[in-house]
Symmetry: C2
Subunit: 212 residues, 2 copies
């Protein structure tokens, strides 16, 4: 589903650039250059210029990028001109940690629905959102107009829940269950792999890797 | 800190390949080809061949890769021939969700220490690990020989805790706090950015992105 024009690795850096620009704006910087963005984002200036050029943003040579207009442009590209409506399915420790994760709201992600299968949790209120029964998934997803679903259910249930979400019209899923989901064309899945993230760190700790 | 030989994007895919190979082994497949790995990993065969060639693994033309020896080789490259010793700092909802995250153990990540600042939590036992006071961070990190630390503390405390971890000898940090950490050369940080992940999904939902 990625636009053929914008490589996935570039898309992955856009939220970071947006965050850096919002910081720059908060510090009352009207203009930033690619080197400044790169330093905040932990990349290099050539990469920043290349990434932004995919979006048709070239800045002004010798001056830089206008912060506010670049924020507006990036927000549009990321579809964040208004908040995205997010559901969390599975309200165990991870699901509830995600619901209270700081910075979703300010980054235009609004949790509008939460689901669990545990009768003890269903009906309770958390930060203004009622925990709904997973049996009512389809109805509530449609009612609350969910755009992005976060799956925080045990692996054995993940595919079934994903199928139901897709049938209810959800086209973007963030999956924390340690299983690979199969979804139809046109549905975007991002797989959280926390153990894999730690393994990448392990690679960098490893002196043996030099000896290939 | 990445080896100049292996690009970061390749390193990032290695844990996924390893996971696919372990699945293949569990299904009693003695040999897999690059197309089979690609299908399991959700990438393409040319990418798999290129990535593995960085590790000096070329397989056998027309046959494929020996599953067990590739598992051994990848595990060595990722420094996973024995379990990595992991600490979780911050034992709130996210920290405790991470401690009980399924699949850390089987993927060679062993939580050996957990820290919090809340007196009500300190001293309690969770899955065989005692919650330690964050005041004792340096002592316990050294005693338990922590290699990788997971930061699940509020943003305001993250840099201070990171400094103390680094001073105590930790060279790899996974940061869930929504702040950018500054660490000395030789220390590897991975920044978890859950809101950013959702924003990448949002990009794919956005029809406006085509109009650049």
């Amino acid at each position: 589903m990625a636009s053929p024009k914008v490589p996935p690795t570039t898309v992955q850096r856009l939220p970071l650039y947006l965050r850096c620009l919002v910081q720059a704006s908060a510090m009352h910087m009207p203009v930033v250059n690619s080197l400044q963005i790169a330093e905040m984002a932990g990349t290099n200036a050539a990469q920043v210029r290349k990434d932004l050029s995919y979006l048709g943003e070239f800045g002004t040579r010798g001056v830089g990028y206008d912060v506010d207009s670049l924020i507006t442009h990036l927000s549009k590209q990321l579809g964040l001109t208004e908040s995205r409506r997010v559901a969390i399915v599975g309200f165990g420790r991870l699901g509830s940690a995600l619901q209270s994760y700081p910075g979703f709201e300010e980054r235009h992600m609004r949790v509008v629905a939460v689901f669990d299968a545990d009768p003890a949790k269903i009906g309770t209120q958390v930060d203004g959102v009622t925990v709904e029964s997973v049996d009512d998934l389809e109805v509530v997803v449609k009612q609350t107009d969910v755009e992005i679903a976060i799956l925080a259910v045990p692996g054995a249930f993940a595919q079934d829940i994903a199928d139901r979400l897709v049938a209810a019209g959800v086209r973007a899923i963030m999956n924390f269950a340690p299983v690979r989901l199969h979804v139809p064309e046109g549905v975007e899945v991002r797989q959280a792999d926390l153990a894999g993230e730690l393994q990448v760190l392990s690679f960098h700790l490893n002196p043996r890797r030099a000896s290939v």
